[in-house]
Amino acid sequence: MKPNLLTLRIQRFHPDHDPPQWIETFQVEIRKGMNLLEALLYIQDEQDGTLSFRYSCRGAVCGSCAMRVNGKDVLACRTHVEDLLEEPVLIEPLPLFPVIRDLIVDLSVFFDHYRKIEPYLQGKPVSPHVEYLMEEQKRKEIDPYINCILCGICFGTCPAFEKDSAFLGPAMLAKAYRFLADPRDRRNDEILKPVNTQQGVWGCKTVFNCVKVCPKEVPPTHGIVKMRGRILRYRLVSIVSRLSSLFSHSNSI
């Protein structure tokens, strides 16, 4: 094999094809600095116009081109092909989502979960003319969770989502935490309601897969653990207050 020839084994899917799923091999002559998205675009242009995958920004900010490469879930645009020259590369769609065509998966369940956590700031009253005041330190605390590009990669390696597709998933729990941590949001612990379930923070196996694979260094598990702490604290407070009211009640008899 020529050193600058990249072999890509791509999992194809077409419902009318027999069989609907198959592996097709392509070869791409690579340039220095080339990334996997460019290689795929090259194949689409010059070898097979039917090869389907998503793309947009090619700069790792839009979250379109998530896929599985040699068993790892990555953004194609930030995957250097020079790192893939060692062996034939297997490219598959992002796992755990239904495949629509080739590398394009159906993210409906992903965005359904997104909607479930009501992912929009519900602000405390404030004058329409001035911004909320926020300490820079507070912003920095929320910032890692804001960086999520909703690419879906974290769902692909999440054992809780694999076991139960109703599990809200790392990206959505990180999003919920982002609003919980935001001092401008008036919901406070209301935000915890949709996540205080087995399909929410309690379903997480805390194996940190999502933290490891996130291309934007978002730490969902950290947020999940913090939300669990908050919920437990409230439970404790409520038990203590119930006990103490019982106690004061019995005292007064």
């Binding site: 920004c57 979250g63 404030v126 003319h129 911004e131 912003r139």
Partner: protein, 567 residues
Amino acid sequence: MEFLSHDILIIGGGLAGLRAAIEAKKSGRDVAILSKVHPLRSHSVAAQGGINAALGNGPAPSKDTWKNHSFDTIKGSDYLADQDAVEVMCREATERVVEMEHWGTLFSRTEDGKIAQRPFGGAGFPRACYAADRTGHSLLHTLYEQVIGLQIPVYEEWVALSLVVDKGRCAGVLGLHFFNGELIPIQAKAVILATGGYGRTYLRSTNAVINTGRGCFLAYQAGVPLEDMEFVQFHPTSLFGTNILITEGARGEGGYLINAKGERFMERYAPHLMELGPRDIVARGAQTEIDQGRGFEGGYVSLDLRHLGREKILDRLPGIRQIAMDFAGMDPILKPIPIQPAQHYSMGGIPTNVDGETQLPGLLAAGECACVSVHGANRLGGNSLLEALVFGERTGRKAAEQVDKVREIPHNTAFQNHLRGFQIGLEEIFERKTEEPSYLIRDEMKTLMASQVGIFRNEPALLSAKEKIKELKKRFLKIGLKQKDLAFNHEAIQYWDLEGMLHLAEAIVEGALARKESRGSHFRVDFPNRDDEHWLRHTLASKTPEGAKLDYKEVTITSYPPKERTY
């Protein structure tokens, strides 16, 4: 015939489109968004450095005002912007930015907890409000969250193929559901184009791959002339090789531009503002250094951030550090970033008034695809996100108003005829036998635009570009489509995108060839000076069978008569 209908249909799910949708929806209308990608994949997400608003949160005693912002924008535009439009934008900037903050955008903060502002090119005050260096990302996600809250429907991964015009009014679009290949007319009382720029007509561009100028072409094809197309912005600092944007904020935070001799070369081009000169001047400076042999081997200069220190880089510029590491394999904390100028923004577009209305009733436009004109011949950094929000809001509001006045709903036959006409055209394309793939023509066009219609232009190069575009258009007409099913038909999408880009490229070339002066981003080596007497006017290019036909219109001047532009 399956048929969809809405009061207001918005084409494009970036910042302008979403902001328009929110405003229209809040007025109680039936609103839908159609986008060829999921809205969060829109190019707005890639904006980095900031959004301008004269909040005046900079250190005392410098009190910024919207009038300062207007003046900087007008001067930055090389006096080609319509000053009434600029004043609207700068006056409403504060309201729009504060609103985004209230909706959840996580802006960086000053010591007293207000929205932080950083210096940007061509601005007299630190005016760019920022969320680290991911401002576009933060704003787009915030707006999409609002869209979710308002339950605005989105036709995701649908393509608008053409505008349906009936009795002199835009009555809707012909949509393509990309996943099943169905052609579905969508009727609307108002259509808003918010499809972004046409950067991908150029070889080296910071733009997303999807920025093919589709909306501009839809309007052009429907008989709306395009304004000031020759004004194409080149950003001075794109990452060498991949041309991914490295924000102006990097210079706003104090970064230096250095040539191979170790000189801060901006001293030669903008001795006062240095690296914070406006983009046209800095881009020409960087390109001149490269062209005159003072660049590094391969053709680049460098952006040095090392003196800012690790902490500031991690705090203010984490995104570009990640980009440099991911895409250039280097850490800007330790090494200067290799950069080169690249196409970045489309100042030209669909002419609108300050409420987004075009000359075609029922058709509105906002954001980069529109030309209000607030950027004139050169856009200032931090003004594009602002334009998208201010005019997105105004356009959504105006569209909602218009809906009430539309009494007559076009008869279904108008849509049926349109669909039939489109299908007949499609059959003809399917029958062509030419084997030439469209990507060859596309790549030739992009190379041509970068080399002959780029930062430095001259008559011989533009004339040869004009001839070449003609040739490419002829070759294009012979292209056939092999895949007949329109579901997941990338070949067909590429075909339509290329058709549009060839026409837009032609309008750019014609405008540039005719404009015998240098103004803002349009620099003619053979006419290096600005010529207000003859050229203080907007170009209008109309689509005719013979090509782009030019006309001109006056620039609106309110309080700022044109002056010499020095920095």
